[in-house]
């Protein structure tokens, strides 16, 4: 599972789309996956349809599609993620805090894999290896994800198919402020894209 990427050296000049993403301000590919990703926001339903390709969000550098906004201090992010397309078991939909848009930026995220394995993963310093805490696989479904940052503490909750949110635990993290907060999708392969529907999205300061 530990796969190193073709280093997508992303120039800072990302073609960011602004102003049409509800709770978020921008959308772009990170790490330059060969297949371009996309994000659509439906203001009437509050739903985000995010299509992302890329090797993975893992190892020393990432490839995925990201929808984000900049935030500082403490906040809470909640979203319900549902894969709309089949794909590799370890395709990922994530709630992410990311320092920069560089492919090898520090980050921390709460991920749900395509096979229904929740995970908390983080890269502490630029171009370092990614750390992981993988939880037992509960199977594919509709997953509600919640992440709260209080100082350096990041606490995460998940629930599957409408069950009450369950706290998985917390980690500590030195990402600081400001940080790019958002939703990400990676297909775990450059040969395909995956689409994830995010609904009931809230970002609270």
């Amino acid at each position: 599972m530990r796969e190193l990427l073709l280093m997508g050296l992303l120039a800072a000049s990302a073609f960011a789309q602004a102003g049409k993403f509800g709770s978020f301000s921008n959308s772009d590919d990170i790490g330059a996956p060969p297949r371009k990703g996309a994000a659509e926001f439906d203001a009437s339903t509050g739903q985000y349809k995010i299509t992302g390709s890329g090797t993975d969000i893992w190892g020393k550098a990432d490839q995925f599609h990201y929808v984000w906004r900049e935030m500082s201090g403490n906040f809470a992010v909640t979203a319900t993620a549902q894969f709309l397309t089949d794909g590799i078991a370890h395709r990922k939909a994530v709630l992410m805090l990311r320092k920069r848009l560089d492919a090898d930026s520090p980050f921390v995220h709460l991920a749900i894999h395509g096979d229904g394995m929740p995970a908390v993963q983080f890269r502490n310093t630029k171009a370092d290896d990614t750390n992981t805490v993988d939880f037992p696989i509960e199977g594919p479904g509709t997953w509600k994800l919640k992440l709260v940052r209080q100082g350096t503490t990041i606490t995460v909750w998940v629930s599957k198919d409408g069950a009450p949110l369950r706290e998985l635990g917390h980690t500590t993290n030195q990402l600081g402020s400001p940080v790019l907060v958002g939703l990400g999708v990676s297909s775990h392969t450059q040969e395909a894209s995956n689409t994830v529907l995010f609904s009931d999205v809230s970002v609270e300061q």
Binding site: D129, E167, T171
Partner: protein, 315 residues
């Protein structure tokens, strides 16, 4: 198969004791805490007293009782703190690369408050990573740590329940590792005592399967075994740190090499090479380039790992 390795690695900085330590071989303070710790084994119980600032950040201070193990294993223990102490005093099961205060490690710990934690320092001198689990107060805990390749699994139960898998992380240790029990008071001016019972360490028996292949083609099938040893990067690629055997099978236009990678027999197949014999399997290349040496390398492991090997003998 149960591997019992009774080799003691004693750094000069460690005041280690040996004697009757049950299933472990040594005990000692790590990181030089001001108040010395101790470990006693009697009536099937380990009574471990440890002081120290913490096991966290870039370095650790605690009392450790350990043995050496290679490969995959399961270690389990029932534990409870005696007396009062700091909220974040910690005790539990630790896998550690060396006895250095800033060594790579992974542990499954219970804090004085009853909060379980999975903690790890991926590389020597780095910061500790932590994931803490929701909890409902102090008590007697059954804890278990399972190593499977790079994965470190955490199992926890409170009271008399059967331990439940909570999560796993990944840490790339070289073999052998030190595995044992650790106690830290989370303060330098006091120590804490923890009683561990029902402690077991089981090295997992590797699953074995015999494979018979019927091949059609010209010529006879030939097999031979060669013994190799690789340099200090062997562990990063999952090779044994000591000597190991590679079996070569040739016949019907196939040329295979069976190499022990990550605790399993990985079958490499010959692929086109400009010089020597180049074999590929999974994300690895085993390349016997004759006078230019033998290498195992991978472009898709972290850091594009490579190790240089030499043949010890051939038969």
């Amino acid at each position: 198969m149960r591997h019992l390795l009774l080799i003691c690695l004693l750094s000069g900085a460690i005041s280690a004791q040996s004697g009757n330590l049950g299933i472990f071989t040594n005990s000692g303070d790590v990181g030089g805490p001001a108040i010395k710790g101790s470990a006693e084994f009697s009536n099937g119980q380990y009574r471990i007293t440890g002081s120290g600032a913490n096991m966290f950040g870039k370095q650790d201070q605690f009392h450790y009782i350990w043995r050496e193990v290679s490969g995959n294993f399961t270690i389990a223990a029932t534990m409870r703190f005696l007396g009062q102490g700091a909220d974040h005093r910690k005790a539990g099961i630790m896998v550690r690369q060396t006895l250095d205060t800033d060594a790579a490690y992974a542990d499954v710990v219970i804090h004085g408050t009853g909060m379980p934690g999975l903690q790890w320092r991926s590389k020597q001198g780095e910061d500790t990573n932590v994931f803490d689990i929701p909890f409902d107060g102090p008590g007697t805990f059954r804890i278990q740590l399972v190593r499977t390749g790079v994965r470190i699994y955490m199992y926890i139960a409170k009271g008399g329940a059967e331990p439940k898998e909570i999560a796993h992380t990944e840490v790339s240790f070289r073999n052998p590792v030190l595995v044992g029990l650790a106690v830290c008071s989370h303060r330098t001016d006091a120590s804490d005592t923890v009683v561990f019972s029902d402690v077991s360490v089981e090295a997992q028996a590797p699953a074995r399967a015999d494979l018979t292949l019927s091949l059609t083609g010209p010529g006879a099938i030939s097999r031979h075994v060669a013994e190799f040893q690789c340099d200090e990067h062997a562990g990063a690629l999952g090779l044994p740190s000591g000597p190991f055997a590679v079996e070569y099978v040739n016949g019907a236009g196939n040329s295979l090499a069976v190499v022990p990678v990550g605790g399993r027999s990985l079958i490499f197949s010959n692929v086109t090479s400009g010089s020597g014999a180049r074999y590929a399997a999974d994300r690895y290349i085993w390349w016997d380039a004759g006078s230019r040496g033998v290498h195992l390398y991978s472009d898709s492991l972290a850091g594009k790992a490579e190790t240089s090997c030499h043949a010890l003998s051939a038969n």
